[in-house]
Amino acid sequence: MVVLAKSLEDRIDESQKLGLQVIKESEDDRLMTLNVGPQHPGSGHFRFTVKVDGDYIVYADPDPGYVHRGEEKMCEYRNFIQNIPHLERPVIHDSTNITYSYSLAVEELVGIQVPRRGQFIRAIASELNRQVYTLYWLAIYGIFLGHSTMFMWPTGDRELFIDLLEALTGARVTHAFNIPGGVRNDIPNGFKDRCLRQIAYFEKRLKEYEDIFYNNPLLRQRTEGVGILTKEDAIKLGVTGSVLRASGIPYDIRKAEPYDIYNEIDFKVQYMKTGDSFARSYVPFLDMRESCHIMRQLLDKMPESGEVRSKLQPNPKGAPGEAYRRVESGRGALGYYIISDGTPKAYRVKISVGSFRNMLALPYLLVGAKLGDMPSIYWSLNYWPVEADR
């Protein structure tokens, strides 16, 4: 069975050739339709249909929407501030970042500026939350590949960062921490030492992750050369985040469009060139390392005292106009497009999330892969179903 085609067009052609249209005519009896999700250990709140020919997937069709809650519509009925708690529901593991870009966009519309210390605290919270998300993602990647230890270790080590975030924001997952104009509160006493200590410990742990997981020959066998997304295809499909960076494009919003304090931070964009499932899973790991580095700098450069948020009137009105702001979240670019009509409520909020954009690559990577590769390809896309549904 040779379905593996090199370029995207070939793959699309192949999928259409072997896919729905052809099946209806003659090959229905040879293919088996498998639902993956919504009640499947290898899917999130998400479903995709695959048709398998023996061990090979010849057709895949994602079907999101199981957790669609109409966040965009809800935003039109609430004040700018009131939007914050429910906007972080799509990705509660990355709730600081999803409110980060919202705050940036609202700040642009309302016309306020964040104090310097507030920017630092925002960045710290964002990096911490990125670690939390990536560890959770990594844990699920581990259990998808049948590696139960890799599920338990990151889930446990995630606790380090959750505790830090809890000390910082007061809540464990849904922080509601970024608001337009700054952050909700200042860092607690002794936070810096604790943070540095836990980062140092975490960097030691990362080495062990590498030993048991990334350098494991069985894992390499399973993921290397699987589901290759070439650079051209990645650009064409408009994927983002670690998926893009694994395909050899060093694109990071923090570098491309430095928001807040990130233009003062020295860091490298981590990327790999192979574009296979392994690279897509290894790039977030490299990001975690780099994130530790960034966090050290942030803690180092942070001004000792100062305001953490600028004064915002109780019910801020946005100036008529529109704003599109992005941040780099755990899953790539996370953009908010907000239209304001001069009232305290947004006229239209569009959330452009990395998961939704990465989902486009799923059918093209699955077609031609083996059924055993399905979990590794699916979850290496850094896909969070709830965020894609919004």
Partner: protein, 174 residues
């Protein structure tokens, strides 16, 4: 005791082979086939040939029956071999079988195997190591022939095995 066991195993074997032939559900037929293979293994045990019995189970139940069940599972419609009820043919088959069995039985009964002195003639069971010994020394050409047969069979099976889908795809492209 041994006679009773023999009769039980015989009933099991013949009964399950009848089920294997007559079952409308192919999968039950395949299971009955496996059971009848095991019954044959039971005969070998009763004949003091444990090695052959284990061979029978490992090969015929562990490999052949699995292959048969595998194939049956892949058969799309259960009525692939639709049983044509033809009473005349059935009766003729039964009569033919009875005649055949009677003939065999008559030959066996008249051949002297039934004589009382036969028990003394072959009293000690054959050790299976002797089988291996004979097979490798005296019958070694047979071993080579066996190897050639096996090799030919596997190569032939794979040479005959076709990928329908590839051929279909080629046709479609043409």
């Amino acid at each position: 005791m041994v006679d009773a066991v023999f009769v039980g195993v015989a009933v099991l074997t013949i009964g399950s082979s009848i089920v294997a032939l007559e079952s409308r559900e192919l999968i039950y037929g395949a299971i009955a086939l496996a059971i009848s293979m095991m019954g044959i293994a039971g005969f070998f045990i009763l004949l003091d040939a444990p090695f052959v019995a284990m061979f029978q189970i490992a090969v015929y139940v562990g490999a052949v029956a699995v292959l048969v069940i595998f194939t049956v599972m892949l058969v799309r419609t259960q009525s692939l071999f639709s049983i044509n009820e033809d009473k005349g043919r059935k009766a003729a088959g039964i009569v033919l079988m009875l005649v055949f069995m009677g003939g065999i039985g008559a030959i066996v009964l008249t051949s002297g195997l039934n004589s009382p002195s036969f028990g003394k003639f072959n009293s000690t069971p054959v050790d299976f190591t002797a089988i291996g010994k004979e097979m490798l020394t005296y019958y070694s050409p047979a071993l080579i022939a066996l190897a050639l047969t096996l090799a030919g069979s596997v190569i032939g099976a794979l040479a005959l095995a076709r990928r329908e889908d590839i051929e279909q795809k080629n046709e479609r492209i043409d």
